[in-house]
């Protein structure tokens, strides 16, 4: 057991920390800052800040240098994730592109795709969105119905995507569409249990390996045929985006409508009809995420909750203290787990379905931490106006956000299925 980083990694940490100290405005450390500016303004601030970060050499930390990355170690990437969280850095404007699309393009993209996509993404010249979920295809991603029909050397795309992060600010969208007709009716679904964002691994539950075992999986396997991953220019008349207001009042997500949108045939990633396989590869890049960034963020949340409780004299209640302590137990376990994952990555071990465990641990812990916030603050937590300098609005806003994290990116139910079947080997 050796929990230290190499001198080279520690040197990287101190360089990064120095740059962040100098480049993150003090105002950003106030939790209410990002709610005090408009969506558009906030997005531009983030885009600009990331451009500067790129110019300073802090983009693509663990990417190969040939793609403009820094060629760093997994340890450096973990340090980067942790320091960004500690410094209150805003979430990347291009998170889904950087985490998912870029490594997929590096792995299976054409030379032209590599050239066209990776550099501009790293410099934030092109902001990428993900278009996977549909109103009738949430946890059951393969039920998607958006269609792409070849017309000369272009696909004509029609349909709807939902739960698209940054939909209002995106330039391009990597999206799954049905380029051959699906297996027909019987899948008319309304409403949506819809996973979104990162860690969208749920669909892996249907991967080919398990699909042969029983009729239901075979049926689903049939659904995977004829899907392609297209790279759609969002700045065209055939693409309309709408913000999706959430119960917190914010709109991190949006909807994307395609009406005869056009995509060049060369803008298909991984080959026509291979979309499901491409998506599985793409989602597998979540596996390297250790959870250290979540730990750093939620650990700070813990302290903020304690501070608020202290202001109301609720920090001395023995039972609430133990409830808080139980949350810290889970948070610290998340940290240990992150070190475990990082070790596996550094040793080049196959992480398999470990990301489902990481997701369960962080999302359930995060949600319960804010249930404890509710219990600690009691009736006073209902007030979101500042009272005597105590402003609970940001924490309350975050509490609502935690209700979504067990739904998107593969719901807790989907993750438990994956752990049961693929980690424990329980039968379908």
């Amino acid at each position: 057991m050796d929990l230290t980083f190499t001198p080279q990694e520690e040197k990287f940490r101190s360089e990064l920390r120095g740059w962040l100290d100098a480049n993150i405005p003090a105002a950003w450390r106030d939790p209410s800052f990002w709610r005090s500016v408009s969506d558009d303004e906030g997005f531009e601030l983030r885009r600009d800040w990331e451009r500067r970060k790129h110019d300073a050499g802090f983009a693509g930390i663990a990417w190969p240098t040939e793609y403009g990355g820094r060629g760093g170690t997994p340890g450096m990437k973990a340090i980067y994730d942790e320091e960004m969280a500690l410094a209150h850095a805003p979430q990347s404007a291009n998170a889904l592109g950087l985490t998912f699309l870029a490594p997929t393009v590096m792995a299976i993209g054409t030379d032209q795709q590599k050239r066209d996509i990776i550099g501009p993404m790293l410099r934030n010249e092109v902001i990428w969105c993900q278009g996977f979920s549909e109103p009738g295809a949430g946890s059951d991603l393969a039920a998607l119905r958006t269609s792409g029909v070849l017309d000369g050397d272009e696909y004509v795309v029609n349909g709807q995507k939902i739960w698209t992060t940054n939909a209002m600010h995106g330039d391009k969208l990597f999206t799954l569409v049905r380029t051959e007709p699906g297996p027909g009716p019987g899948r008319q679904a309304e409403g949506g249990i819809s996973p979104v964002g990162t860690n969208n691994d749920q669909s892996g539950a249907l991967e080919a390996g398990t699909a042969r075992r029983d009729p239901e999986a075979r049926r689903s396997h049939g659904m995977h045929r004829g899907i392609s991953m297209l790279l759609v220019d969002m700045r065209q008349p055939g693409v309309e985006t709408r913000p999706l207001r959430q119960l917190s009042g914010a709109s991190e997500f949006g909807e994307v409508f395609f009406t005869d949108a056009r995509v060049k045939a060369s803008e298909c990633l991984g080959g026509v009809g291979n979309g499901w396989k491409t998506a599985m590869l793409l989602l597998s890049f979540e596996r390297g995420a250790s959870g250290i960034s979540q730990y750093a963020t939620y650990r700070r949340g813990y302290d903020e909750i304690v501070a608020a409780a202290r202001r109301l004299g609720r920090d001395t209640d023995p039972t609430l203290r133990r409830e808080l302590a139980s949350r810290l137990v889970e948070l610290e376990c998340l940290r240990y787990h992150a070190m475990h994952v990082l070790t596996q990555v550094e040793q080049g071990r196959d992480l398999g379905s470990e990301s489902s465990i990481t997701k369960l641990q962080w999302s359930e812990t995060y949600q319960k931490l804010f249930e404890t916030f509710d219990h600690l603050l009691g009736l006073d937590g209902v007030v979101t106006s500042p009272v005597d300098g105590l402003d609970l609005a940001s924490l309350q806003f975050e509490a609502f956000w935690t209700r979504s994290v067990t739904i998107w990116g593969g719901s807790s139910q989907v993750q438990r299925n994956i752990v049961a079947e693929r980690v424990l080997g329980l039968p379908r």
């Binding site: 979920s133 109103p135 009738g136 949430g138 946890s139 059951d140 039920a143 939902i162 739960w163 019987g186 899948r187 008319q188 679904a189 309304e190 409403g191 949506g192 249990i193 819809s194 996973p195 979104v196 239901e216 049926r219 689903s220 999706l244 207001r245 959430q246 119960l247 009042g249 109301l312 004299g313 609720r314 209640d317 039972t319 609430l320 249930e371 509710d374 219990h375 603050l377 009691g378 009736l379 006073d380 937590g381 209902v382 007030v383 979101t384 106006s385 009272v387 005597d388 609005a393 309350q396 609502f400 209700r403 979504s404 067990t406 739904i407 998107w408 719901s411 807790s412 139910q413 438990r416």
Partner: protein, 371 residues
């Protein structure tokens, strides 16, 4: 042995349900919920409440009320929870109870008749920020002044402080006791500060009293405050029970039809078992609210225990059922456009109202361990 609502009470529940479906459904709720600058007190709704007698339910017949009991009132509270109904019904009814329990004949005449008729919107201001719902949580002090009693201190959050024309304020008295006072919130020595809240089915404010005049309810004392808080807890519990049941029923209906992986979501065993457990929990909370209301009405020896049990259980059931409503509607339940957040946020607020779980569990422990 008859542990159930009477036919009359069942009919009342149905009347409210039908009324809300007809005249104040979730679309109407949404309008109030989203109009955060508004007073959250739709005049038409209030007028209808008065006409239906729903403000008069606990007012004695001699004061032009219906003279019914808490068991009847909890029928209303439960239906209002199920409909996520906004408006100052609960604080107004509790002012009526305070005056009925501790007021002079003159005060009863002055307050109860208008209150029953819908002419008086009122509220209760019993605790300071961070306080509990017993005498230790009172944050206002009463000073005996040559010109009458003067009240100083803060009560918050106070429901519908902005529209109430009378408030019942709890205050610590010079002799160490507790008194309840009728206060005019619009008077110069009272500052009403509107407070934001995430729950658009109510409106909150802080009441800051700076030597405000208060008219004492002559029979009030710490025991009356405790009784008032118990009655508040029963009605809040009933509202939570209605909220929880509505959340659960809507989730079950949705999961029967929402298809994923070629099956109804509600046919997945994990979801089935979760919903089954929730049903048992909500059913027990329904029983508990019923029993507590009856125990208070009939002054049963275990009334104090029953109220604490009901509020603790209702808190738990509502927290779980409304959280599950979001989770088991999937993404759609997390949107602003869906109604899940009305129930979720209302439950989250009411869980703290008239005692959170800790407060009531401590009471149960004292009654069952130290007794």
């Amino acid at each position: 042995m008859y542990f159930a609502l009477t036919d009359e009470q069942r009919a009342l529940a149905e009347t409210v349900r039908d009324f809300l479906a007809d005249r104040f459904d979730l679309t109407a709720v949404r309008a109030v919920f989203e109009d955060t600058a508004g007073d959250g007190h739709p005049a038409e709704l209030w007028k209808a409440f008065a006409e239906q007698g729903w403000l008069a339910v606990l007012v004695p017949e001699e004061n032009d009320g219906m003279g019914l009991g808490l068991l009847d009132a909890q029928v209303l509270a439960r239906a209002f929870g199920a409909g996520a109904v906004p408006g100052p019904w609960l604080p107004t009814v509790l002012v009526g109870e305070a005056v009925r329990l501790a007021g002079s004949p003159a005060q009863r005449a002055a307050v109860l008749g208008p209150l029953a008729a819908g002419e008086l919107v009122a509220t209760v201001a019993l605790r300071a920020p961070g306080g509990s719902f017993d005498q230790s949580g009172v944050g206002v002090t009463a000073d005996i002044d040559p010109g009458g009693t003067r009240l100083t201190g803060t009560a918050s959050p106070v429901e519908y402080a902005g529209v109430a024309r009378t408030a019942v304020v709890a205050a610590k008295e010079p002799d160490g006791g507790i008194g309840l006072y009728l206060v005019d919130p619009t008077s110069a020595s009272v500052t009403v500060t509107a407070l934001d809240t995430y729950d658009g089915t109510t409106r909150l404010g802080a009441l800051t009293l700076d030597g405000a005049a208060g008219e004492r309810l002559p029979e009030s004392n710490a025991a009356v405050l405790a009784e008032l808080s118990r009655r508040g807890a029963v009605l809040a519990a009933a509202d939570l029970v209605g909220t929880a049941r509505a959340a659960l029923t809507r989730t079950i209906e949705y999961d029967k039809t929402r298809v994923q992986f070629g099956k109804a979501v509600g046919s997945f065993q994990f979801i089935k078992h979760t919903l089954a457990d929730l049903h048992v929990g909500v059913l027990m909370a329904e029983h508990a609210a019923l029993y507590a209301a009856h125990a208070v009405d009939a002054a049963l020896p275990d009334a104090a225990l029953a109220v604490a049990v009901a509020k603790a259980k209702a808190n738990d059931a509502a927290e779980r059922a409304t959280g599950a409503m979001i989770q088991y509607h999937g993404g759609i339940g997390y949107t602003w456009e869906h109604e899940a957040h009305f129930f979720y946020k209302r439950a989250k607020r009411l869980v703290g109202t008239f005692g959170d779980a800790g407060e009531h569990l401590d009471r149960i422990a004292a009654l069952s361990i130290d007794a």
